[in-house]
């Protein structure tokens, strides 16, 4: 099966994150900061990473995890990983 990047990737990522942190996808803007705006604790941070990896069947590199601070960065990382998988 080809690894197609979903057209609605942004919505899917936002919904996934919103489900873990118990917010509405509409609350999440690209600049929303996980720590400052959403008060995501460290356990939820792992849950977000694992949920994204499982949903999109991708692997996020360990050194990238601490660098994800905003919704936009998370989205960019998922896109990048899916592009790489496609190649």
């Amino acid at each position: 099966m080809p690894n197609k990047i979903p057209d609605n990737l942004e919505e899917e990522v936002k919904k996934l994150i919103a489900d873990v942190i118990l917010r509405e996808p509409g609350d999440l803007k690209p600049e929303t900061n996980f720590w400052k705006d959403l008060q995501v604790d460290s356990i939820k941070a792992i849950e977000i990473v694992v949920a994204i990896e499982k949903r999109f069947k991708i692997s996020i590199r360990d050194e990238q995890v601490p660098k994800i601070t905003t919704i936009g960065e998370a989205l960019a990382l998922v896109k990048q990983a899916l592009e790489k998988k496609k190649e």
């Binding site: 460290s42 356990i43 694992v50």
Partner: protein, 478 residues
């Protein structure tokens, strides 16, 4: 015209998660009701009294109570930190194997030294892994997210006995062998319940749910005990209230399920309101194992072992191989247990002291026909025989013997197959959003150990806090 509601929030189940959630909602001014099927609150954190002996039904100790720990933070928020009197055992746990006895201390450094003394060849690695589990930030912990706890142990250690001891902590507190359990869950459980464990309320475990229930009422919340929710009322895809077994309908803007998730989705909610694929997903998931408990009441006037002279948490491993220990569990021939003993003064006879001993191990439910009286008696005898490896002649001192099988736990809590920890924390199921706390049905939320996150008292308390926060955030946006 505004719709009429009797409550802002109804919570199904007065376990720790439901009570914590209710307190936060009531504190914020929401009209909150908790409906509990039992006559008392607490779920697995309840205690009971028989013939003057008090026993904790299932949960035996608290964790995560260091300053800023998950449970400490909640007690602080709810202004209960000074009202709940809690002591801490020192050592928090004693682990006994066929050839050594090792202590888990209140201070991490002491625990590290104790393990280094027993396993000098692993000295450096013990310090590294123990500090990593206890102190590392989460991005560091997330490095091992795709690994099992066994793989983590194999990375650090060579000594099989050391790996078995640490693996047994995961088997005992999560119900899964380390080669099936997520390393993240394993690390979190050891961090929050072992390294920061061994706390005990002065008035038994029941003191925690009792003080939360008392606080809820002070905050103008309500609890209806001995009432069962039969149905969740769903209209136009939104949760609108509940129907009780006596036929009474109570309407509410939010419904929070703090009970068994299969019961909720397969019985309390009518089929037409749930997608078939979701029902299939729920039925296909793996629950955690159940437990078997023996409660023994002992009068201290008897000539008793010195082992019973003070309160204790002892973990016994009668085999030195984790695969053997797990095999013993699934074949209903457990070779490991947790022994807890508590002394209390009998008020009617001041000269006596009552000692309540509880022996607990993980086991499988199988089906409700499996646990015949013969099986229960046999299992209890086996567990007592194991207990006698710690306290010789234990059964001879006992003037009272009670048991709880997986079927009893299922009856008490409605947890599917008497599961002790909700869903099994396997790599596959950890953080797999098949049962998100936010459900597909608007205004219906899940909390507690079936909400697909880590289990254990501090964690489920935290789930209750999270759900309350999410609802309060939604309210604020309005």
């Amino acid at each position: 015209m505004a719709e009429h509601y009797d409550y802002d929030a109804i919570i199904i189940g007065a376990g720790i998660s439901g009570l914590v959630c209710g307190c936060y909602l009531a504190k914020a001014g929401l009209k909150t009701l908790i409906v509990e099927k039992n006559a008392k609150v607490g779920g697995y954190c309840a205690s009971f009294t028989r013939q003057g002996y008090s026993f904790d039904a299932c949960a035996h100790a608290l964790g995560s109570l260091r300053e800023g720990g998950q449970l400490d933070k909640i007690l602080f928020d709810l202004e209960l930190r000074d009202r709940l009197k809690i002591l801490r055992y020192e050592p928090s746990y004693i682990i006994i194997t066929p050839n050594l006895s090792i202590k888990i201390h209140g201070l991490l450094d002491d625990t590290i030294k104790e393990f280094q003394r027993h396993f000098p060849k692993e000295k450096k690695q013990i310090e590294e892994l123990f500090s990593f589990i206890a102190l590392s930030d989460i991005p560091a912990l997330s490095r091992f997210r795709s690994k099992t706890f066994q793989q983590l142990l194999d990375i650090y250690f060579k000594d099989n006995q050391l790996k078995t001891i640490l693996g047994l902590l995961v088997l005992g507190f999560v119900g899964l062998p380390p080669n099936q359990a997520s390393s993240v869950v394993g690390c979190l459980i050891i961090r929050e319940f072992v390294f920061d464990g061994g706390y005990y309320p002065l008035k038994k475990m029941q003191a925690l749910p009792d003080i939360l229930a008392q606080r809820l009422v002070e905050l103008k919340g309500e609890i209806k005990t001995a009432k069962t929710v039969k149905k969740v009322i769903i209209q136009d895809g939104k949760a609108r209230g509940v129907t009780l077994n006596d036929g009474k309908r109570i309407l509410s803007r939010y419904i929070i399920s703090a009970c068994d998730v299969r019961k909720l989705f397969l019985e309390m909610i009518d089929e037409e309101n749930i997608h078939l694929h979701f029902r299939q997903k729920i039925t296909g998931k793996q629950p955690s194992p159940s437990s078997f408990l023996v409660y023994l009441g002992i009068r201290s006037e008897e000539q008793i072992s010195s082992q019973l002279q003070s309160d204790k948490n002892i973990i016994l491993l009668n085999k030195l191989d984790i695969d053997d220990l797990y095999s013993s569990m699934i074949s209903h021939e457990s070779q490991f247990l947790l022994l807890t003993s508590h002394i209390s003064t009998d008020k009617s006879l001041q000269s006596y002291k009552n000692i309540s001993v509880c022996l607990e191990t993980n086991t499988l439910y199988v089906n409700d026909k499996f646990w015949t009286k013969g099986k229960i008696d046999m299992f209890a005898d086996r567990l007592i025989a194991l207990g006698e490896l710690i306290i010789p002649n234990l059964s001879k001192y006992a003037s009272l013997k009670l048991t709880a099988s997986p079927v009893s736990l299922n009856k008490w809590t409605n947890n599917y197959q008497g599961a002790s920890y909700g869903w099994a924390s396997t790599i596959e199921q950890f953080c797999n959003p098949f049962a998100s706390q936010k459900t597909e049905i608007e205004n219906l939320y899940l909390t507690g150990h079936w909400s697909n996150r880590s289990s254990g008292i501090a964690f489920v308390a935290n789930h209750g806090y999270d759900i309350a926060n999410s609802i309060l955030y939604k309210e604020k946006r309005k």
